[in-house]
């Protein structure tokens, strides 16, 4: 079997010259990231910033692991291209799902507190339920005002 020669010596040399010190630094940074995540979990950031901050820290830690512990920092073209490509696809997946979630018809978007409180749709599904039927409406207008002293009926009964 014959294979094409590959020039991977330079990458290998560079990896050999990288000292242990930088792994300790990366490890310390990872611990710091974990600590910050823990501390921020006790701080009540307004939504959606709590999620964004947590995701940012997680992404930063992942990047450190991939770049240094998995040696992407020392590798050249093809491996970086593969990593960049995979990042593009992660962004694509998350981006289009978030876009859907943000632009979706509200009633099909469960999990939001406001959604759960909303009334079910009326006969025309695209418009929220209109005002109640006249028979169920509370009396209004001067001719429907109860006489002074009469007992007030609760609305809708």
């Amino acid at each position: 079997m014959t294979t094409l020669p590959r020039n991977s010596t330079s990458e290998h040399d560079r990896m050999e010259h990288a000292g242990a010190g930088r792994y300790w630094i990366v490890w310390a940074l990872l611990l710091l990231g974990t600590l910050v995540t823990l501390l921020l979990s006790r701080v009540h950031l307004p939504s959606p910033f709590h999620l964004l901050v947590a995701l940012f820290i997680a992404c930063a830690k992942s990047a450190l692991v991939v770049l240094f512990f998995m040696h992407l920092w020392d590798h050249g073209g093809a491996n970086r291209l593969v990593f960049a490509t995979s990042l593009i696809f992660v962004v694509l997946l998350i981006g289009l799902i978030v876009l859907d979630n943000a632009s979706r018809f509200a009633l099909t978007n469960p999990g939001h507190g406001r959604t759960l409180d909303m009334e079910p749709p009326g006969p025309d599904i695209l418009t929220p339920r209109g005002p109640p039927e006249p028979a169920a409406r509370p009396p209004s207008g001067p001719e429907m005002q109860p006489e002074p002293g009469a007992p007030v009926r609760p609305p809708g009964r």
Binding site: M1, T3, S86, L93, I97, S103, R104, F105, G111
Partner: protein
């Protein structure tokens, strides 16, 4: 173990054309097969297991069609019917269509086409076969012990609440995903590192280009499926609220994640089919491909654009209209790259010396199913039309045409085209053509009625139907029977040809594909001498003996 059928010594008159020291008889005994690292032996084992899976999936399909022979109950209960279509889908997609062509023909021919001794990671290659077997065993266990009634898509929240055996089948699919990833990884590394001298990227056979593109999808998309299936299993087992709206989850999120894998998975199935056809068409026409670079890069284009289209499965599921519009437009781009291939294949036939072999018959069937299925796909990717057809038999017929039709045509074309190389024997050409005609007609008879049923409004996955749909369902079941008959013929004559088939010789088709440069069956080390490539694949300017056209334009 005694000698395999394929290694039976040929008749003395044929002996000079047969390679007696081949990979099939290099070692003897079951252990030599189970522990082999030879990509060719692994490919043959893939051929056995995927064919068994195909037979199992086909058995479920026949049960479904028999049940639908009458409008009411025919042979099974409604619950059994739900299980049958789920098992049919799971087996056919995860156990047959995804691994069949890469596992069998990719494994066998990718190293041969690159001039390599083996794949880059032979042990990993064997592991991927074992993972396939383990995943299949787990899934089949789930099928025997209760089955699942969710459909192969496992849509939540039903899949997280049903009492049927969803978890083992999910776990089986999860393990199968690892097998798929390892195979893809092996092919990518092999293509990058094990090309023989002279094998530049622009000299690689188009089969390799398409398998390479498939491998990229396998590596990028399959992990998403694995994670998604695990989430469903956890939600099913522990009641997490990820996808179940009653617990604050979002069922549409499942559909996003599932189709982010499963739509590109269509190209995991179809790109290898295209890979086969790119080889077959050149050998058929005895010409090199029209527009090599366009066909090669369109494979990568399909792999790339295939990731941008998953949302067209969610048009009526509650996805936002903005996303639906975006996905509708993006879906059209796949048609462009597919059209590049179709036009180049047909242009290759121009002024070619076409010999109507069995594999060329399958190419014709493939072209019809790909174009017809693809065009109905373009229609389905139009939101307004999809609202009418969503979840009807029109969709069922569409994806059977584009996925199943094209994959089966390519699988059978590859089986016939490369059979002499793999086993050193020729199949009976007359029976090959008879079965090809039966299968192509049977496939049309099965699924064209389903296009009509869907357009008339018959929903998919229904156990019973109004009587007005009866005649078309009978036609569909009759077509399925024809298909089964055709496959049985193939199984019989290929089995017979292993022992009694005429000895093929190294290159019975006069093909200029690189894999034909070695003996039939190939020796364990693939080539007797280290190959050096000085020409592109299928260069018929200096045609070998048997070629009818001496030019390559």
């Amino acid at each position: 173990m005694s000698q395999s059928l394929a290694t039976t010594p040929p008749a003395p008159a044929d002996a000079p054309a047969y390679n007696p020291r081949n990979y099939l008889n290099a070692e003897a005994g079951i252990a030599s097969w189970l522990l082999t690292r030879d990509h060719k032996r692994i490919a043959v084992m893939y051929l056995v297991v995927t064919t068994l899976s195909f037979a199992l999936g086909g058995f479920y399909a026949m049960l479904i069609r028999i049940e639908l022979l009458t409008p009411g109950p025919t042979i099974m209960s409604a619950m059994s019917y739900n299980r049958m279509f789920t098992l049919h889908g799971v087996v056919m997609i995860f156990l047959f269509m995804i691994p069949a062509i890469p596992g069998v023909f990719g494994n066998f021919f990718l190293p041969l086409m690159l001039g390599a001794r083996d794949v880059a990671f032979p042990r990993l290659n064997l592991l991927s076969l074992y993972l396939y077997a383990i995943g299949a065993a787990i899934a089949v266990y789930g099928m025997i012990h209760g089955g699942a009634d969710t459909g192969w898509t496992f849509y939540t929240p039903y899949s997280t609440t049903t009492v049927t055996k969803v978890v083992p089948i999910l776990l089986g699919a999860f393990v199968l995903g690892f097998s798929s990833i390892l195979t893809g990884l092996n092919f990518i590394v092999t293509t990058h590192t094990l090309r023989a001298p002279g094998m530049s990227w622009m000299r690689m056979p188009l089969f390799v280009w398409s398998i390479y593109a498939t491998s990229v999808i396998q590596i990028l998309a399959t992990p998403v499926l694995g994670i998604t299936l695990l989430l469903v299993a956890f939600e099913h087992a522990f009641g997490w609220g990820i996808f179940d709206p009653a617990r604050g989850g979002d069922p549409i999120l499942f559909q996003h994640l599932f189709w982010f894998y499963s739509h590109p998975a269509v190209y995991i199935m179809v790109l290898p089919a295209m890979a086969v056809m790119s080889e077959v068409i050149q050998a058929s026409a005895r010409k090199n491909i029209f527009g090599y670079k366009a066909v090669a890069f369109s494979s990568l284009g399909i792999a790339f654009v295939g990731f941008f289209t998953w949302g067209h499965h969610l048009f009526t599921s509650g996805q936002s209209t903005l996303d639906a519009g975006i996905f509708g437009v993006l879906s059209m781009f796949v048609g462009i790259f597919t059209a590049i291939k179709v036009f180049n294949w047909t242009a290759t036939l121009y002024e070619g010396a076409v010999k109507f072999t069995t594999w060329f018959a399958y190419f014709c069937g493939f072209l019809f199913f790909l174009v017809f299925g693809g065009m109905t796909g373009i229609a389905l990717a139009t939101v307004s039309l999809d609202i009418h057809w969503q979840d009807t038999y029109f969709v069922v017929a569409h994806f059977h045409f584009i996925m199943v039709g094209s994959v089966i045509m390519a699988w059978l074309a590859a089986l016939h085209y490369w059979w002499p190389k793999m086993f050193g024997r020729l199949y009976p050409e007359g029976w090959g053509l008879v079965s090809a005609v039966l299968i192509i007609l049977g496939f049309n008879a099965t699924f064209i009625p389903q296009f009509l049923l869907g357009n008339y409004g018959m929903p998919r996955r229904y156990y019973s139907y109004p009587e007005r749909f009866w005649p078309l369902n009978v036609a569909s079941t009759a077509g399925a029977s024809l298909l089964a008959f055709g496959f049985t013929i193939i199984l019989v004559y290929l089995a017979i040809s292993l022992r009694w088939g005429k000895v093929a010789g190294p290159n019975p088709w006069g093909s200029r594909g690189f894999e034909w440069d070695t003996l039939s069956p190939p020796p364990t080390e693939n080539f007797l001498e280290n190959p050096v490539y000085t020409r592109g694949p299928h260069d018929y300017t200096e045609a070998p003996e048997g070629a009818e056209v001496t030019h390559a334009t």
